[in-house]
Amino acid sequence: MTDVLDGVAIVGMAETRVGKLPGRSAIDLQAAAGRAAVADAGLTKDDIDAVFSFSGYSQAMLMHAARVAEHLGIHPEVTAQIDVGGPGTHHSAVMAAAAAIRAGMCTTALCTFGENGISVRTAGRGRAPGTLTGGEDFEMPYGLLAMISQYALLAQRHVHRYGTTSEQMGAVAVTSRYHASLNENAHKRTPITLEEHQASPMISTPLRMLDCSLISDGGGAFVVTSKERARDLPRPPIEVLGWGMGTTHHIVSQAPDVSELGSWEACRLAYARSGLVVDDLDVVYVHDACTISTLMGIEALGMCGEGESGPYAAEGRLQLGHPRPVNVHGGMLSHGHAGGVFHFLDAVRQLRGEAGPRQVEGAQVAAVTGNGGVLSTFSTMFLASGR
């Protein structure tokens, strides 16, 4: 099947330190990741003729990709800021880069992401100034302010329909932290127990503090070019075997029920376009704004039946050593949340065989899912080593 992603590969990637990095602006973090990703690809800044970026929300900015380019001293023909909601945007950046490369608009695209969320966003009391989120008129007046409360409303649907328990969600948090304990760049590395999860403060029922992703400082970037060009570059090229996206709503009052979210269609399309089946997946990265997101994600990927993700997690089957381990870098729950590209980067790392103590032996195919908003926009990508 001819696909927009045929003929392109991810040839370089990097992430900065992730955690609390006071004094570093979001643009500085993105640029640092960008320089490292270009070096990782064996390229120089003169090779980059397109920049795609996402400003994130801690220091949201108009014309952000032009700023990244300016910061790096690059004068690309093509720039675009892409925002489909934080942790789904990297997939759309891959798509945009691939389309531009295949259309002859550019040859080599740098895609950058990152936030200084903990140092700026929380200090600024959590909102990017002037940024509208859509709920201003009909949701915020009722105190529906935090993303986590919006997620909680859909988490409660999962609890209601399938009997999912707080302990089952806690199993996701415990496994994520265990994986992060093996990742020296993770924001939170000290293992936690289920008891600690259960004792953590309630934030917005049914979600406790340890159900929530972190807010982190950090940047990540990758480089996309043609497979033809990739042959001359030092790193194993990573190709996209299949992809799918789905959008059902923006604000939570407009959301469908959890069995009808865009995740299901995104995964169905990715399987159909790739010809893969769930047994082909070796390592899985699922968007985890909170523990319930991980549970919903593995259901949509078909790793268990609808509504069966709670018991699946409680049995420890998300952990390294099991088939299709999930978020083995620690996820946004423990590695860090700075816009969501780190899942994608760790998938590349795994497929290169560079994940150290977290390496899934012989990993050939990785699944990466992202979502933006309140489970509003979804994307699924299956990646594989092109060598």
Partner: protein, 142 residues
Amino acid sequence: MSGSGSEYAKPLPSLGDEVTAPYWQAAAEGRLALPRCEDCGTTFFYPRRACPTCWSEHIEWTDAAGTGRVWSFTWVHVPFYDDAWKDDVPYCVAIIELDEGVRLVSSLTGVEPGQVEVGDAARVVFDRVTDEVTLPRFEVVR
């Protein structure tokens, strides 16, 4: 939950949007009004100039029964971002599925944690929070 004029510190809806103003005007008059498409019959929420089903701009406002069910809820335990809700926590935000078939976000009044279940019957109440703004909230009907 009622405010006291200019001291009201919580976010308020915009009243200057001509598409959504009838909703808030109705609330101020003690009515829960919903936009309904005159062409395809779809009742929808939130208000838009054109029907999201058929794009017709022939929209009429109809009074809803004001009854529905709790589709989902969350008890918010943290006063996020500013201090306006610090005396309210924990408070219950809910998605209400109205009998007319649409869902909207509101809050539940007169309930304590542990007293709310998905599927509970709910009925609108009107809370005049400022001289200009009345928020439709809901109470659980036992």
